[in-house]
């Protein structure tokens, strides 16, 4: 996949989003560089999830622009934005993104299959991803037969298998205990970095944010703090 090397990989300018009388985003600017990991933090109702949805092309902002590798998402219709999400983005949600009737390997292989990769090739690739995330031997298990941490590793494999430019994670450890959550964050940040993708994590948990190289704080729909620091490393 060819990435634009100059300028930020993901760029938001003046994002405004309202739901009725409620202002969720009140003019947000944010740049995410290639390979950068950013934690978006804030209390409940601060607008951090709305920001993630706008960056990912799930929601269309009322005003402002989002550009991925220099290409504006605002010019795209829903079908084209869906294609961007499939091809250039990866997603890790809190839970429930794996299809219950598919075994782990097919859940992962489904992503490249949706992009036209033949099933055999997609399955082999999925097997390699699962093995690299420590899930060798669990390929045939269905989501209900995996622990929460294992299921999130499968979700990480599914998000990264298509070689996305940006991975979005929405409270990826929200349904896990602390130790498992730390483990999933280690896998998520390491694998995303090795794959050369940028990572945007929405969380309210400082322990989760510590795994990212940059911390952005959102309050009342605005960015109120933006600090870079050395990320937590694998212990």
């Amino acid at each position: 996949m060819s990435h634009t090397t100059s300028g930020p990989r993901l760029s938001a300018r003046g994002l405004v989003k309202q739901f009725g009388a409620t202002t969720a985003l009140a003019g947000v600017d944010l740049d995410v560089a290639a390979g950068e990991s950013v934690a978006v933090m804030g209390p409940s109702g601060s607008g951090k999830s709305t920001l993630l949805h706008c960056l990912a092309g799930i929601l269309v902002p009322d005003a402002g622009t989002v550009a991925l590798s220099g290409r504006g998402l605002h010019d795209l219709d829903e079908r084209e934005r869906s294609l961007v999400r499939r091809r250039q983005y990866g997603f890790v949600f809190q839970f429930g993104q794996l299809l219950a009737e598919l075994p782990a390997i097919e859940n992962v292989a489904l992503a490249p299959m949706l992009l036209g990769t033949p099933r055999r090739e997609a399955t082999e690739l999925a097997g390699r991803w699962l093995a690299s995330l420590g899930l060798a031997g669990m390929e045939g298990r269905r989501p209900g037969e995996l622990s929460g941490g294992q299921a999130q590793r499968v979700a990480v494999a599914r998000a990264l298998i298509t070689g996305p430019e940006v991975v979005f994670a929405d409270e990826p450890t929200g349904a896990l205990d602390q130790a498992t959550g730390q483990d999933v964050m280690r896998v998520l940040t390491e694998t995303t970095r090795l794959a050369g993708a940028s990572l945007v994590v929405v969380t309210h948990d400082a322990g989760v944010a510590a795994w990212c190289g940059r911390r952005v704080e959102v309050r009342d729909g605005r960015v109120v703090a933006d600090e870079r620091r050395a990320p937590e490393v694998a212990r």
Binding site: G47, R86, L99, A100, E106, E171
Partner: protein, 458 residues
Amino acid sequence: MSAVLALAPRLRRAGGRDGRLTTALAVAAFAVMTALTLSVVGGLLGFSARAADPAGAFQREYGDSYVVLAWTAVVLLVVPLLTLGGSAARLGVARRDARLATLRLLGVTPREVVALTVVGTAWQGLVGAVAGVAGYVALLPVWTRVPFQGSTFSAGELWVGWPVLAAACVAVPVLAVVSGVVSLRRVVVSPLGVARRQTPPAMRAVRAVVALVAMGLFMVVLLVLGQLGAFAVAFAIGSLALGFGALNLIGPWALGLVGRLRVRRARTPAQLLAARRLVDDPRATWRVVGGLGLAGFVAGALAVVPLLASASAGEGASAAEVAETATFTGDLMRGALLTLGITFLVAAAAAGITQAATVLDRRREYALQVLAGTPVALLDSVRRREVLVPMLLVAVGSAATAVVMMSPVFGIAGLTDPSGLLLLVGCLTAGCLLVLAATETSRPLLRSVLAETQVRPD
């Protein structure tokens, strides 16, 4: 308790657009079930009254056979009709699951959650039953145009009476409540609703053995009865129930087997997902297409009926006997066609209801897939494929099974008579199109669920 019960009307109103849609679907299913059950019971009462007080020689001679045939129709229809009612109740509960689970977490007791469900589903059942009674009354003029035993029924003959109507208005809500409460157990037992999905054990091949034995037994019975003359056809049709039983045994097992084969051969995401769903719960798919399996089975048996008239006409019988046989076989065809029409309607209603329930059960899964870039068209394709492939398999398979099972009496002539085959193909095509159209009713529901569902509340 009373404070909690006061929530019932609010819960009913709180569902939004898809809440109204699912309520309408559930009520419509209860209404279809009630109207058709009452119509079938009305027919049974009509034939019983004529047999008890015959108006002519024909009714005196054939009256009891018609009662047997009417009972056969009741036997064939009762399971699909009850299944439809059960599915409707589950759909009604599915929409409320999330809110009831929240109430449970807030401290509402299991008994109160059950009470809320009872009130909600009983209400849907009652509205459906009343609408069904109205539907039955509206259908009476239609049934009175269908000639049986050489004359049409009067509305009075098909009238089930006020006590039966009152009983329906009690029985349908009770059925709804029982199905609803059973399907609600998981909310009561585990309010967090952590549904652990695991690989289901494959159904054992013993099902196929039992079904094959039942089919063999049926064919032997047909051969023996065939020696006793054409009149034994009534008993042969009566033993269709045995064939239906065999079909119900083998159906889910065969669907599971086909699902596993299709998983292996799947190339596209839609093929893979549809096949995995079939493997995941073949019984659920059978609940939708099983009714059509029955319809196909009856249609397959029907394909040979036109032979009866021509066969009996050439045996040197008197003109009166030929006319009587023609009336009897004509009625047999009409009765079977009516049963077919009803099973098609039931299958279509079951398909619509089940697909709507699936969309609601999986709303989070579907929404997250679409957010991650899965095209909505893929979900539509899987939904159609999920029904279409098993439906074709079951409808065509069961029709072929029926033709084979009836072969001891009619030989291969059953396959070669063009009118019978045309009827078979026509019925199956119409039924399949009807069911496919019914599955499309969940299309707006899917769109509405996708538009509403948030990844998580912020």
